[in-house]
Amino acid sequence: MTNASLEKAAIARPSQGLFDRFRLRELVLIPVIAVVIVIGSFVSSSFLMPENLLNILQQSSELSILVIAQSLILICGKFDLSLESTVGIAPMFAAWLMISDVSIGGSGIGISGYAGIAVVLATGLLIGLINGLLVVKLRLNAFITTLAMLILLRGITLGITNGQTLFDLPEEFLYLGNAKWLGIPASIWIAGLLFLFFGLMMRYHRIGRAIYAIGGNPEAARVAGIPVERITLGVFIMGSLLASLAGLLLTGRIASVVSSQGQNMIFYVFAASVIGGISLNGGQGRIIGALTGVLLLGLLQNVLTLSQVAAFWIDACYGAIILLALIITRLSGETPRA
C-alpha cells in the first residue's frame, strides 16, 4: 500500500476532552459535597467545628471500609450482601470466646484480646472463602447466595448469645476502634490508608486491572490469561476480611457487641458505592468515586441530624437525597446502549 504513510500522517486523534480524559466523571459528587457543606454551615454553627468534622469521618470509617469491600466485589462483577452480617458475627464470635464469665453470655473460654482480633479476621476470611467457593466453584448466583448467607450469619450471631449484648471486652480488642493517633481517631487513619492502598492497587497493579477485566467480560479476561476464578475468589475473601475489620473498629468505638451490629448497613454500602460511580453491572467505577459517595452520605446524615428535621423524617430525607444523587450521577455520565 503506497499511501499508507500518508494515511498515518493524516490521522488526527480526537481526544475525548478534558472531562473524560482525566476521568473527572468520578468526581461529579465534589460539587454536591460542597453544596452540602455550605448548607451545613448555615444550618448549624457547630457543623464546621473540627470536632464535628472528625466525628463525621469517624462515624463513616466503618461504612467506608465496607464500601471498599463492596466496590472490589462489584467491580469484579459480583455481589456480596452478607458483608453486613460479617460485621456483626466476626466480633461477636470473638467476644464470646474472650469472655470467661458464662453468666453474661460468654463461652467461658476466655482467650486474650490479641487472639480475639485474630479470630475476628479469621472469621472474615472463612466467610469470604465460603462465599467465594459457592459462587466461583459451584457457580451459584452471587446475589442469592450471599442473601442466604446474610440471613444465616445474622441468625448465628443471635444464637451464640441468645440475643444478648456482650460488654467487658479486653482493652487490646477495643484499641483500634477508640485510639487516637496524632489527635485523629485511628479508625480514620485506617480507612484513609485502605482507600489509598486499594485506590492505587486498582489503578496500578495488574491484579487491580484484572479485576476490572473480569467484571467487564469474564470470558475475554480468561482468554487473556487472567486466572478469573482465583482472582474472584480472592476478591470475595478480601471483601469479607475488610468487613470483619470494620466490625472490629465498630466494636471498639462502642465498646460492646450488639447482636444487631451491622444490620441494614448493606443498604448504605450500596447507596454509597453506586452514587460514587461503581456500576452494579461490573467492570466500572473507581475507588476514589466510592470515597466521595461515602463522604456525601456521612455529611448528609450529620446535616440532617443537626438541622431541625423531625427525627421521624430523617430517613425519608436521606432516601430522597440518595435518589437525587443517583439521578445526578446518571445524567453526568454517558452509558452504552443496552
Binding site: M1, A4, E7, K8, I11, A12, R13, P14, S15, Q16, D20, R21, R203, Y204, H205, R206, R209, A210, Y212, A213, G216, N217, E219, A220, A221, R222, V223, A224, G225, I226, P227, S279, G283, Q284, P336, R337
Partner: protein, 502 residues
C-alpha cells in the same frame, strides 16, 4: 529444528460433546510449522468448536492436542496456552469499559520497575499500534464506543501483539471492509515470511485462495478433506464442504430473478440529515423492489438503516412507510408501521442469548400466536419448525438456547425473526455475514421471495454477493448518495464508487 517441532498444532481423535450433543467426532488435524491453513465448512460444522479446543477454552471429551510438538498445557494454565497460540475468536473478546489501549495490552500492560502498570508507556505503545493499523481512534477511548470494524481490528491487533508463533483467526474479516482486509492480509503475509503459522477461518473463499496454502474441510463435526489449495479448484472445495448436495447452486446468479417492482411506494426517505454524517438523503424503495445501499464503514450507510429502524433520531428529514409518515427515532412506532430490521451487530442488538432459538425467532410475532397475550405453544412450535427448515438453521432443536448456536446459524435466526412478522419494509444490514456459501443461497431465496410478495427490501452492505440480489444499488460516500446503478452493473464500477473513485 528437531523432528518433534515440525507441527505447530496437532489434534488426534478428538471428540467433543456439549451436554448430550456430540459436536466433533474423531477429528484430526495436523498443521506443520510455517503453514497457512484454511479451515472451511458450513455453519455449524464445528470450526469454532475446534478453535476452542486448540486454544484451551474448553477440553475435549477424548483425544489429544499438541502444540509446538508438546502436549497442550492444562486447561487452568491460561498463560501457558497464551504463549503457544494467539487467537481472534468469532465472538467479541473486548472489555467494554476499559480503554482501547488497555484492551490492546490486556493482562500484558507495560510495567515499570516496581511492577506497576506504566500508563504513559501503555498510551504511547498503543498509539504506535493504532497508527500502524491506521486506526483513527484515541487510545483512551472506552472500547464500547468503537464501531464494529474498529473493535475487530483492536482484537486482531491484540492477537498479533501477543507474539505467538501460531495464530488462529476465526472469521476475522466478517465485519471488515475491503481496505481493512487488505491491511490485515499484508500483515499476515509479513508474519508468514517470518515463519509464523496460521489457521484461518472464513466463508469468503476468495480470501482463502489469496492467503492460504492448504485447506482442511469440516462437515458435520468431522474433518472430511485435507488438500493443497493450488490443487483444489473452488468448485471442488465447495463440493467437499456441502457433501452430497449439488454444489452448482452455490454462487451469485441464483438470486437474480427479474424485479417485479410495482410502482407503489414502500419506503420513502426524504431529506434525511444527521449532523456530521448524513446530508439530505433522498431514497425510495418501491414495493416489490430490493435496493442495495453500499458504502464504506464511516459513509453513513448504517446511520440510514438505524434511522429507518427508529434507533436514531435524525436532525431533519422524513421517513414514510407505504406513503404514511412515521414518527422518527421511535423503534416501537417504526415496528408498528411495518419495518423489519436486522442489525449489523448481532452481538449487541437483537439476540437474547439465553432464550431458546424458538423464542428468539418468534419475539416479533407473539401477538399473532394467541389471544390476549397468551402464546399458544403448539402454534409457536409449528411456526418455529417451519422457519428452522426454511432458513436451514443447524440446531439440536427449537428449544436450544440461541447463544449455543454457531455464529452463522445465529445470523440466519436474526433474518428469520425479522421476516416472521411479515413487515412491509425490510432493512437488512449485512444479512449474510458469517453465513456459509450454501446457506447464503437459501437466505437469498428467502429474501427474494419476500420481495416478490411485495415487500420493500433495503440491503445495507458492501458485500458484492449481497448486492447482487438487488434490483438497484445506491452508493453512499461521506454522507451523500453519489451513484446509482441499475441491474447489470459491473463490480468494478460499484467498488470504485464505494471507495469514492469515480
Amino acid at each position: 529444528m528437531s523432528a518433534v517441532e515440525t507441527y505447530a498444532a496437532e489434534a488426534h481423535g478428538i471428540n467433543k460433546r456439549f451436554g448430550p450433543i456430540e459436536v466433533l467426532h474423531d477429528v484430526g488435524i495436523s498443521i506443520p510449522v510455517g503453514d497457512a491453513r484454511a479451515l472451511v465448512g458450513r455453519n455449524g460444522a464445528g470450526k469454532s468448536t475446534l478453535v476452542g479446543l486448540l486454544t484451551g477454552l474448553y477440553g475435549a471429551n477424548a483425544g489429544e492436542i499438541r502444540l509446538g510438538g508438546r502436549p497442550a498445557p492444562s486447561l487452568g494454565d491460561r498463560q501457558g496456552w497464551r504463549e503457544r497460540v494467539a487467537c481472534v475468536y468469532q465472538r467479541w473478546m473486548v472489555i467494554p469499559h476499559l480503554t482501547v489501549a488497555e484492551n490492546l495490552f490486556l493482562n500484558n500492560q507495560p510495567r515499570n520497575g516496581l511492577g506497576l502498570v506504566d500508563w504513559r508507556r501503555l498510551r504511547e505503545e498503543s498509539i504506535a499500534v493504532l497508527d500502524d493499523w491506521g486506526l483513527d481512534v484515541a487510545p483512551d477511548l472506552d472500547a464500547w464506543r468503537l464501531t464494529v470494524e474498529q473493535r475487530q481490528i483492536v482484537e486482531i491487533a491484540r492477537a498479533l501483539l501477543q507474539g505467538s508463533r501460531f495464530i488462529i483467526l476465526d472469521e476475522p474479516t466478517a465485519e471488515l471492509e475491503r481496505r481493512e482486509v487488505n491491511r490485515l492480509f499484508e500483515r499476515i503475509r509479513g508474519l508468514q515470511e517470518q515463519g509464523v503459522t496460521f489457521l484461518y477461518i472464513s466463508h469468503h473463499l476468495e480470501e482463502i485462495y489469496e492467503i492460504c496454502r492448504t485447506v482442511s474441510v469440516m462437515r458435520d463435526g468431522r474433518v472430511v478433506a485435507d488438500a493443497r489449495l493450488d490443487e483444489l479448484p473452488k468448485d471442488r472445495l465447495v463440493a467437499a464442504m456441502v457433501g452430497e448436495f449439488a454444489a452448482s447452486g452455490a454462487g451469485r446468479k441464483s438470486g437474480n430473478s427479474a424485479s417485479k417492482a410495482r410502482m407503489t411506494s414502500g419506503l420513502d426517505i426524504g431529506g434525511l440529515t444527521v449532523k456530521d454524517s448524513l446530508e439530505n438523503i433522498d431514497l425510495s424503495v418501491h414495493c416489490g423492489e430490493c435496493v442495495g445501499l453500499a458504502g464504506l464503514a464511516g459513509s453513513g450507510k448504517d446511520k440510514i438503516a438505524e434511522a429507518v429502524a427508529g434507533l436514531l433520531n435524525p436532525d431533519a428529514g422524513s421517513i414514510a412507510i407505504h406513503g404514511t409518515k412515521t414518527p422518527l427515532g421511535d423503534v416501537g412506532a417504526m415496528r408498528a408501521a411495518g419495518v423489519g430490521y436486522v442489525a449489523r451487530d448481532r452481538h449487541v442488538s437483537g439476540l437474547f442469548p439465553l432464550m431458546s432459538l424458538g423464542d428468539n425467532l418468534t419475539t416479533t410475532v407473539l401477538p399473532k400466536l394467541g389471544p390476549f397475550g397468551f402464546v399458544s405453544t403448539g402454534r409457536q412450535s409449528d411456526m418455529v419448525d417451519r422457519q428452522i427448515a426454511e432458513l436451514g438453521i443447524v440446531a439440536a432443536s427449537g428449544s436450544q438456547p440461541i447463544g449455543e448456536l454457531s455464529g452463522g446459524n445465529q445470523q440466519k435466526a436474526m433474518v428469520g425473526r425479522a421476516l416472521a412478522s411479515d413487515p412491509k419494509v425490510l432493512v437488512l444490514a449485512a444479512p449474510t455475514q458469517g453465513v456459509d456459501i450454501a446457506s447464503k443461497d437459501a437466505l437469498y431465496r428467502i429474501i427474494n421471495a419476500a420481495r416478490d410478495r411485495g415487500m420493500a427490501v433495503l440491503v445495507v452492505s458492501d458485500d458484492l454477493d449481497e448486492l447482487a440480489i438487488c434490483d438497484r444499488v445506491e452508493v453512499i460516500f461521506r454522507g451523500r448518495l453519489t451513484r446509482s446503478f441499475a441491474r447489470g452493473w459491473s463490480d468494478q464500477d460499484v467498488v470504485a464508487a464505494i471507495e469514492g473513485l469515480y
